[in-house]
């Protein structure tokens, strides 16, 4: 074991405890008073792999200009709790900028290293107990280093504590105890100070059980070193302190990355929760929500790449980082954020679905009302037909009776003559009026109509892969102005209702020998990406069965793609596949 300057060699077996505490700071630090020796920059930053260092602009802002022994002495003289046996204290500051953020999003991380040494019988006095002792020590060190301005505040969580236990007098049981107590919260501490828990035979099994209960599989080894892992807390144990000391720089780099990535995941998680609350409060989803989701997703992908990627070019750092990442909760936090993202996406998708069903219901109701009105109109017309024919036949019959045409020929009375004329004229005039009305009205009443939702995103098209479709309304207007297109289009209306826009137009085209003529309403999202929502296609003046209307809808969609009104994204060209894309856009519903 290393002999420390100023520490007289004493009898008995010694214990060395090292506490490495990494904390995110609220706000930045004034780094003017800090030292930034090149050697330290090389030592700590040199461990991060180039890609990660560049992507996050990782910086060493500086370290305490006071020597570790001098700072430890000052802290001991301050009589802060937990300074028994304190021989060294170091403070370092790092800056980590999130990949997609600017300087204002940078995370400043304060890293503290306390070394405590003493006789093994004094282990209980050397160990630091919970944030009650660790944080005042960190605050004291920060105040000493940063001077008058006062130390910035620490957030309540997001820290990382690594405890190393070494020395001839140390054992694995001490490592269990020192590690657990350093990160224990009030509730755990209360359990450990319940009556009878001060006795070793009760206490140690309890502490080990807490490790096992929480992280049964997380007790690992790294070469000769024993490694115990709990949430946000790693413990290293080996008899030789010089061996443990070699891990210091690796642990510093790992703790910085751990705290920064944890902070980024935590922030993203809070934003997702906020978005979730916002969406559930509103009735409608706008394209802004899709864009937000896209940006959250991009951030998560970047973050996951960093969390799951190697931290360093150095094998020792990587091996230690992956063990700590899995054992101390960073990997499971990333997994939780991923699940939350998935849930939020599903919420948005189901709300869009509900919105579309609502639109569909409104359309059906409208169409039912129109049919109902037409039926009443038709009944009214038939009634009018009967009335007119009766009125005319009475008048004409009365006129002819007055002329006495049949009376003089057949020698019948005028009353009978009126009856004969009525018997002939009434059915004749009824039939004529009916035929005339039918000739004028029937075409107007005949119609074939089809409403269909359109699938626009993640369309799986054989031979093309997965594509999506957007509407280009400008192209539709330009098509309406031309006569040389595949489609002859006349726009009747263009209405935007909240986030939905609907263009009504008549479309004529040729399919082989046949001429097609339909009235079309194309609805699509009005803001941002204009994804098609639904289409209504109506055959005017003739009845048409659904299969024929579906065929016409497919032809129309394919022609709209050829004319550039529907733009297909995710593939270079769809030439020759327009019908297949149109087929994929029209979901088969019974």
């Amino acid at each position: 074991m290393r002999e420390r300057p100023g520490m007289p060699a004493q009898g008995g077996e010694r214990v060395v405890l090292r506490y490495l505490v990494a904390l995110p700071l609220k706000g930045g630090v004034n780094d003017r008073a800090l030292a930034r020796p090149e050697e330290a920059v090389r030592l700590y930053l040199g461990l991060f792999n180039g890609r990660l260092r560049k992507a996050n602009k990782i910086e060493l802002l500086g370290l305490s200009p006071k020597g570790p022994e001098e700072l430890a002495k000052e802290l001991s003289e301050e009589k802060l709790p937990g300074t028994d046996g304190l021989t060294e204290a170091k403070v370092m500051f790092f800056r980590w900028r999130p990949g997609r953020g600017g300087d204002e999003d940078a995370i400043t991380i304060a890293l503290f290293l306390f070394v405590k040494e003493g006789d093994k019988r004094m282990f209980n006095r050397l160990k630091l107990v919970s944030s009650n002792q660790l944080l005042p020590l960190c605050r004291g060190a920060l105040a000493r280093v940063l001077g008058e301005g006062g130390p910035p505040d620490f957030p309540d969580d997001g820290h990382m504590i690594v405890v190393s236990v070494a020395g001839r007098g140390a054992n694995l049981d001490m490592a269990y105890e020192a590690g657990l107590l350093a990160s224990a919260n009030e509730e755990t501490l209360r359990m450990l100070t319940a009556p009878g828990m001060g006795m070793a035979q009760n206490r140690l099994p309890m502490i080990k059980a807490l490790y096992k209960a929480e992280e049964e599989e997380k007790k690992k080894r790294l070469g000769p070193i024993s490694l115990l892992l709990r949430t946000q807390n790693a413990v290293l144990y080996h008899e030789r302190d010089d061996l443990i000391e070699r891990y210091e720089r690796h642990l510093v780099a790992i703790a910085v990355a751990f705290v920064a990535l944890r902070q980024e995941l935590k922030e993203l998680r809070e934003e997702l929760a906020g978005k979730d609350r916002e969406i559930l409060r509103r009735e409608e989803i706008s394209s802004q929500d899709y864009e937000d989701m896209a940006s959250y997703k991009a951030r998560l992908v970047d973050l996951l790449e960093e969390v799951h990627g190697p931290l360093s070019e150095n094998d020792v750092t990587n091996a230690l980082y992956f063990k700590i990442r899995d054992g101390c909760g960073l990997a499971s936090l990333a997994e939780a954020v991923e699940k939350e993202m998935e849930l939020l996406e599903k919420t948005i998708a189901s709300m869009v679905g509900l919105r579309q069903s609502k639109v569909g219901l409104e359309l059906s109701e409208r169409s039912f009302r129109i049919s109902d009105a037409l039926f009443s109109f038709r009944k009214g017309i038939l009634g009018l037909n009967a009335l007119l024919s009766t009125a005319f036949s009475i008048t004409i019959a009365a006129f002819l009776t007055d002329l006495e045409v049949l009376a003089s020929w057949l020698g019948v009375g005028r009353g009978l003559e009126f009856g004969i004329w009525m018997g002939v004229l009434w059915p004749l005039l009824t039939a004529l009026t009916y035929l005339w009305l039918r000739w004028r009205l029937e075409p107007a009443m005949k119609r074939g109509r089809l409403d269909r939702f359109l699938k626009a995103r993640r369309l799986r098209v054989p031979g093309l892969g997965t594509v999506s479709c957007v509407v280009e309304p400008d192209e539709l207007y330009s098509l309406a102005g031309r006569k040389d297109g595949l489609l002859d289009v006349r726009i009747t209306s263009d209405i935007q209702h909240h986030e939905e826009r609907g263009i009504t137009f008549s479309a004529r085209w040729r399919a082989g020998k046949h001429k097609r003529d339909y009235l079309v309403i194309l609805r699509f999202t009005a803001i941002g990406k204009r994804y098609p929502i639904s289409m209504t296609i109506e055959a005017r003046g003739r009845a048409e069965p659904t299969p024929s209307l579906l065929r016409a809808a497919r032809e129309l969609l394919a022609n709209l793609m050829r004319e550039g009104v529907l733009k297909i994204e995710g593939v270079g060209s769809v030439e020759g596949h327009e019908e297949a894309v149109a087929e994929a856009m029209l979901p088969q519903t019974s």
Partner: protein
């Protein structure tokens, strides 16, 4: 506030908690012998004004709870929580422990145990 609480009353109260912690073996390495040593050392260690004020409130609340008169209004006004007391108690006990370098007890752990007993007795609300 009523009349100021005497330091001796505070020490007597803390001694009571040290005895209970030792008797119930709540902290490793802390038995009746160590409790006696600490009680002796406490007489030599002065309290700061801040410590006196907060630890004095403990005495007031203890008196109010164990007194025969039901001084409910006063008890209600003095609501103490672990966070109010812990830092002052640990700072004071830390200085007391510094007088006894041979006692292998961590000040933080000892204070958690003392506060725990206070919660059990109802003078601090968890």
């Amino acid at each position: 506030m009523g009349t100021p609480v005497a330091d001796e009353d505070i020490r007597a109260l803390l001694s009571h908690y040290l005895d209970r912690v030792a008797k119930e073996s709540r902290v490793s390495g802390f038995g009746p012998k160590e409790a006696e040593q600490l009680k002796e050392a406490m007489r030599e260690v002065e309290m700061t004004d801040g410590e006196r004020e907060w630890l004095g409130r403990l005495v007031e609340r203890k008196k109010a709870l164990s007194g025969l008169t039901l001084d409910l209004a006063r008890v209600k006004n003095v609501v103490l929580r672990p966070a109010d007391i812990h830092a002052h108690l640990e700072a004071y006990m830390g200085r007391v422990l510094a007088k006894c370098p041979d006692i292998p007890v961590n000040a933080g752990e000892l204070c958690v145990a003392m506060v725990d007993v206070m919660i059990e007795e109802g003078i601090i609300r968890a």
